[in-house]
């Protein structure tokens, strides 16, 4: 037997399941609890969800999906979800990146600023943040109205959460406040990977600060931006407590999104079949985003 065939045999042996199981038995035992948890807490509900959504009147059917897709309320909710997700993600990106750029400068007490600006919104529990914003938006004694009035921006107190478009804006602002911190943290970390030499070289070539930003910073941190945006999209679509607490989907369904609607169908109306249909449609969207995200990561590795 030549050495080559011998190696091949060993390789074959190494690839066999049995060998793998014996060789890595300890590792497999170690992950059993996690596998069990994932099966019970993730896989089982997802499968159950899919089964329920395809059942109507005791048989398999697409009725639930068709009902949902042809419901005008669902169209409004889809528009709401798009407005909510796109605005939040874009603003998170702009505010987060802008703030990261500011915090990336070498200034005295930089660490303190970072902690205060980045950690406080992010660490505030969802419900606390939602209730606080609700009070700030209040049309009778809200602090926001008071400030805007004193600045002369508005003439009278605005009922922020009571007018459909204002309410949309109000929940988006609140969510950006809550969410920009995470984005900013990611971008700050990214900015610190940009080698100083590149800036120096660019400066020597006569690039001004805007050119340095677009030609040096952006290309280097591009992968981080893509990753963060993907994650923000997923988080924002699925973000429930803020809207639920602030407006409960109102006024006139202006702030209803997929998740608040699915919640209402399941827990208020006990209409599990339509609720699962809505959440599966939501799942497909999030899943698509996640696939793109994963592919972009794989692409980067290669």
């Amino acid at each position: 037997m030549s050495t080559a065939t011998k190696d091949k045999l060993i390789l074959n042996k190494k690839n066999s399941l049995r060998y793998d199981l014996t060789k890595n038995a300890f590792a497999y035992r170690a992950i059993i609890p996690y596998v069990v948890f994932i099966l019970v807490l993730v896989v089982y509900p997802v499968v159950q969800n899919i089964i329920i959504s395809f059942q109507a009147n005791g048989t398999w059917s697409l009725a639930n999906y068709l009902d949902v897709l042809f419901d005008p309320l669902f169209h409004l909710i889809t528009i709401n979800t798009i407005i909510w997700t796109v605005s939040c993600v874009v603003l998170d990106l702009l505010v987060g990146l802008g703030l990261a750029l500011l915090l990336n400068q070498d200034i005295k007490g930089g660490a303190v600023f970072r902690t205060i600006i980045l950690v406080i919104p992010w660490a505030t529990p969802d419900i606390v943040a939602a209730v606080a914003w609700k009070w700030m938006y209040n049309d009778m004694y809200g602090v926001l109205n008071d400030i805007l009035m004193k600045l002369g921006i508005i003439d009278e107190y605005l009922p922020w959460l009571a007018v459909p478009n204002l309410a949309r804006l109000a929940v988006i602002i609140a969510n950006v406040w809550k969410g920009f911190a995470v984005s900013a943290m990611f971008y700050l970390a990214a900015l610190q990977t940009v080698p100083q030499e590149l800036y120096e070289a660019a400066a020597m070539d006569g690039a001004n600060s805007w050119q340095r930003f677009t030609k040096v910073t952006i290309p280097v941190i591009r992968p981080y931006i893509i990753t963060t945006v993907m994650l923000t999209i997923i988080w924002t679509i699925n973000y429930f407590p803020l809207i639920f607490t602030m407006t409960n989907g109102g006024p006139a369904n202006a702030t209803d999104t997929f998740v608040t609607y699915a919640y209402r169908l399941a827990f208020r109306f006990l209409d599990f079949s339509h609720s699962t249909a809505v959440s599966n449609l939501n799942f497909i969207i999030v899943f698509t985003v996640a696939i793109i995200y994963t592919l972009s990561l794989v692409g980067k590795e290669e």
Partner: protein, 420 residues
């Protein structure tokens, strides 16, 4: 390998230990209490220890805040793990749960209880589903006009003479409203919440309208009376502006808080509002009163409250019934009222006999109003119907739709739901 088995065995033992602990706990009677009464923790403790002393039945009880109570119950019942006894809101929970097969019918047991004939008769439909009774109402309430007497006096109005008709209501509210000071005469419930539906019902019934047909098979509110009720109710905000600009984001609870701060003079409230308004501002004590809500054709109100129900899957239904019967007994209720002053018992004898009630004119107004109070449709589709009514109200309040269109749409949607 052996080590591996030991490991797996240990995990299994752990899991079994945990689940057998649940079984052991199941031998005690599990009771879940929700609603406003959960704040009376000490009284519950006392009542339950009295029960255990008398019957030897151990009770494991949980007092659960309203915000999470419904979700928790639904989750537990759908998993087949419902508590032996729990409180269910009279706003349609009992028929909804009964339709899912989660509750035990109680007719035979009710026949043996002295509470049964003392219960206010208009409460029974709330716990009835397809001809069977599934619960014993425990406490109740009805909606009234809650108003701030100090604001009445300040505006030169007689606090002894609250508005009686819709016209009075509008005139009074206009006199009380002072937009420059952010003071408003009447709070129109406009947020997407159950209380908006209830408000519309009070106006609808007050105009002489009906909500659904008698057999609950069709909507009955798209009539001249129903439209008039919707128009008048929404115009209080849209046209007359006697309600704050943020009306679409406010519920009864918000207005009650504003009333405590002398910002809103009138709103819908009920007996549960008394401790809460005083909690919001202790100085309001003695400066608020209740009256039958203003009406057009006939006095009207909507009732609410809670009933005790027994889970279908309970393994100790006899003990569960003993508990239900015990907490609804005359003595326990008299003691409860003496200690807490409220809420309103479902037993007429206690309402009549309790000294606390006899001394307070507010309670006399409540007892006077109660016979006019109607139940919410006790049908499983009710939550969805209510959602349609809320959408209708919000669409008119926000100016997105006319009252005529909105009521038409709501009727169609409600009929669709009822046809299912």
């Amino acid at each position: 390998m052996r080590k591996g088995f030991v490991y797996v065995l240990m995990v299994f033992l752990l899991v079994f230990a945990a689940s057998s602990m649940v079984v052991a706990a199941g031998e005690k009677l599990t009771v879940w209490v929700g609603g406003h009464v959960v704040e009376e923790e000490d009284t519950w403790k006392e009542i339950i220890s009295d029960f255990t002393k008398q019957t030897g039945i151990e009770v494991e009880y949980q007092l659960i805040g309203f915000e999470v109570y419904y979700d928790k119950l639904v989750a537990a019942y759908s998993a087949g793990q419902g508590p032996d006894v729990c409180f269910a809101d009279l706003g349609g929970w009992v028929p909804t749960f009964a339709a899912q097969g989660w509750l035990e019918p109680l007719d035979d047991r009710l026949a043996t209880s002295d509470a049964t004939e003392q219960i206010w008769p208009n409460l029974w439909p709330t716990v009835t589903y397809e001809g069977k009774r599934y619960g014993l109402p425990w406490y109740t309430d009805c909606r009234l006009l809650l108003y701030n007497t100090k604001m009445f006096t300040d505006a030169g109005l007689d606090p002894q003479k609250p508005p009686v008709t819709w016209d009075d209501l509008l005139a009074t509210a206009q006199k009380l409203t002072d937009e420059s000071k952010k003071i408003y005469g009447y709070g129109v419930t406009g947020a997407k919440s159950e209380t908006a539906t209830l408000a519309y019902m009070i106006y609808l019934y007050g105009a002489g309208g009906e909500f659904l047909t008698e057999d609950y098979s069709k909507a009955a509110f798209n009539t001249p009376e129903g439209l008039e009720a919707l128009k008048f109710y929404t115009d209080l905000f849209v046209q007359y502006k006697v309600s704050p600009p943020g009306t679409l984001s406010y519920t009864e609870d918000d207005y009650r808080t504003m009333m405590a701060q002398n910002k809103v003079a009138m709103a819908i409230g009920g007996p549960w509002s008394f401790p809460l308004i005083e909690m919001a501002n202790p100085e309001i004590k003695g400066n608020y009163a209740v009256a039958i809500h203003p009406y057009k054709a006939t006095p009207a109100s909507v009732l609410g409250g809670w009933a005790s129900v027994i889970s279908k899957t309970s393994t100790q239904k006899d003990a569960a019934w003993k508990f239900v019967d015990f907490i609804t007994s005359y003595d326990v209720w008299m003691k409860w009222v003496e200690e807490n002053g409220g809420p309103m018992p479902t037993r007429q004898d206690v309402c009549k006999d309790a000294p606390t009630f006899q001394a307070d004119p507010k309670w006399q107004v409540i007892f006077e109003t109660f016979p006019y109070a109607k139940v919410r449709p006790p049908i499983p589709q009710y939550p969805q119907i209510s959602d349609q009514i809320q959408t209708m109200i919000q669409n008119v309040l926000s100016g997105q739709d006319t009252a005529e269109n909105a009521i038409q749409k709501a009727e169609e949607e409600v009929n669709k739901l009822l046809a299912k």
